[in-house]
Symmetry: C2
Subunit: 319 residues, 2 copies
């Protein structure tokens, strides 16, 4: 017997809410932000073949669908509170649903982010999550606050997700361990929520790297009306990525996408606070360049020589 819509919601997606006043099961969910808090809201839609491969294990897909949204909260310095899930599935596949719900809810629990509502329907596979976070009034990290003279930082390492994608595409051959570790980076990114919160009052601007470092950094520069220098060979990368050609390393770190690391700026005088924020969040951060009054994005190699910026950025309306 095939599970109906309401059975499916009851079985996999209905949980007792703690923070919210009302969760799944009515026309609306109800909740209130704490006094003095602004709500940060982000919505991401994931489409099969575009945002994930058919080969992704369901549990990792559930994780990733929420992780990319939590990453947007992280970039604003917001603390996760709740989310809604809208899901279109080609058929009722209980193995997929069970794995998806497991991965999704494990990450939700880790961040105390409640599933409070949503929608399910038959249709081409599509996952749309809208996430809500809280940030003290006026303290959100924005794209628009970078100042000339600021240092430019990135968390974690860049490029592994793109490297895994290229391995799936057959453009690169990785050994077993490198394939597994980069595949995990692609399929199960770790949103930098704790770091984002710790950077409130420290960073002047932030964005998460979803479409590729250079493309995402461009958003910050444009909104802040500044330029930047990026030391390309200072970009942090994993052992797996260091094992491929320098050309691939640069491509994957600069234009990879799907990294879900934070790129942020802070005045040199706050370097110690940046280090402390990273320590408290258990994440590495690396200084990768600086913000300039002169517009434009300049790439420098390890010898301080200019590199041409021939790297693209991911655009969901281009191939």
């Amino acid at each position: 017997m095939s599970l109906g819509e309401f059975d499916l919601i009851a079985k996999y997606f209905t949980r007792t809410v703690k923070r919210a006043a009302l969760g799944v099961g009515d026309d609306c969910a109800l909740f209130a932000a704490a006094p003095g808090m602004q709500l940060a809201v982000s919505s991401d839609m994931l489409v099969e073949g575009r945002h994930f491969l058919p080969t992704v294990p369901a549990q990792r897909l559930g994780h990733k669908a929420l992780a990319v949204n939590l990453s947007d909260l992280a970039a604003c310095g917001a603390r996760p509170v709740a989310f809604t899930l809208a899901l279109a599935l080609p058929r009722v596949d209980e193995t997929l649903l069970a794995g998806f719900a497991r991965g999704l809810l494990a990450l939700a629990d880790a961040h105390e982010c409640e599933l409070i509502g949503g929608d399910t329907t038959l249709g081409p596979f599509n996952i749309c999550i809208t996430v809500f976070g809280e940030v003290p009034h006026g303290q959100a990290l924005l794209r628009s606050g970078a100042q000339a003279g600021d240092d430019l930082y990135v968390s974690g390492t860049l490029g592994d997700a793109r490297l895994a994608l290229e391995a799936f595409r057959g453009h690169i051959v990785l050994d077993g361990a490198a394939f597994e570790s980069t595949r995990r980076a692609m399929e199960q990114p770790q949103p930098r929520v704790a770091l984002g919160i710790a950077l409130r009052g420290v960073a002047t601007s932030a964005i998460d790297v979803s479409d590729g470092l250079l493309g995402d950094l461009e958003h910050v520069l444009r909104r802040s009306n500044v330029g930047a220098e990026v030391r390309v060979d200072a970009l942090p990368r994993s052992a797996a990525l260091r094992g491929v050609s320098l050309a691939w390393q640069r491509e994957c770190t600069l234009a990879g996408g799907d990294d879900y690391e934070l790129v942020f700026t802070a005045p040199p005088g706050r370097a110690a606070q940046v280090i402390e924020a990273a320590r408290s969040a258990h994440v590495e951060v690396t200084r990768i360049g600086s913000v300039s009054a002169a517009l434009g994005l300049h790439l420098l190699d390890c010898d301080g020589q200019a590199l041409a910026n021939s790297f693209g950025s991911f655009d969901h309306f281009k191939t």
Copy 2:
């Protein structure tokens, strides 16, 4: 030249926000509920062929995508504040986008509901809107509050959307005027936001009719642990629907779906307040039955004779 993702968002979906602190263009939107208010949140996903026909004019589709979400706020008695839009499109079709945005934003403006964020991507046509409303703490209309002895009401008329669908399917032939009016009901439903707000403190429970009266009413009865009698021939219907057979009239009103009217309950002692709420909201309401302590849903015809309930309810996981 094809429009890229960010150009498309800038051209069609970026507007100055008034109420929200930050709208489209950063990692998150930022806004705050007014003091003493709870946020009501609802998310609906619309898939082509399932929630709308390929023949729907783009402007009406934009209207409907937001209307079905506003209808959920209406059912809770919440006042619309803001929404996010996630959109997957098979290709960049500027004619469609322009019409869609026009219909969407006209309805948003009519309800002072701001577009504050979202996502766009290539993929099978899919529209996911998450809407936020405000309701004074503890005053939301819920499905769980119906009491034995309450009167049962419905707003507007029922069944036109289903009648139009049957005409599109070729199961029914309608004359030109009837086809146009019922098609408009299907493609451009009017969310009963003002009525929902006016029913705060008056109605004991409410739900919007999206999957068919009987199916939606069942949710209220189950959550409230009560039963109901519905006088089938008292159900309000349009002139177009009164023009078809009694069997079709019953099918369309009881199990039609896509009506987006409010079904609600109120004690007989509040009948005058119900009438005043309807008057203030410029919507007709009709008493269609009553709530009983005995569980179960009983249908009565115009002679007070019991009718068998052989009517289905729409389930997005069944065909």
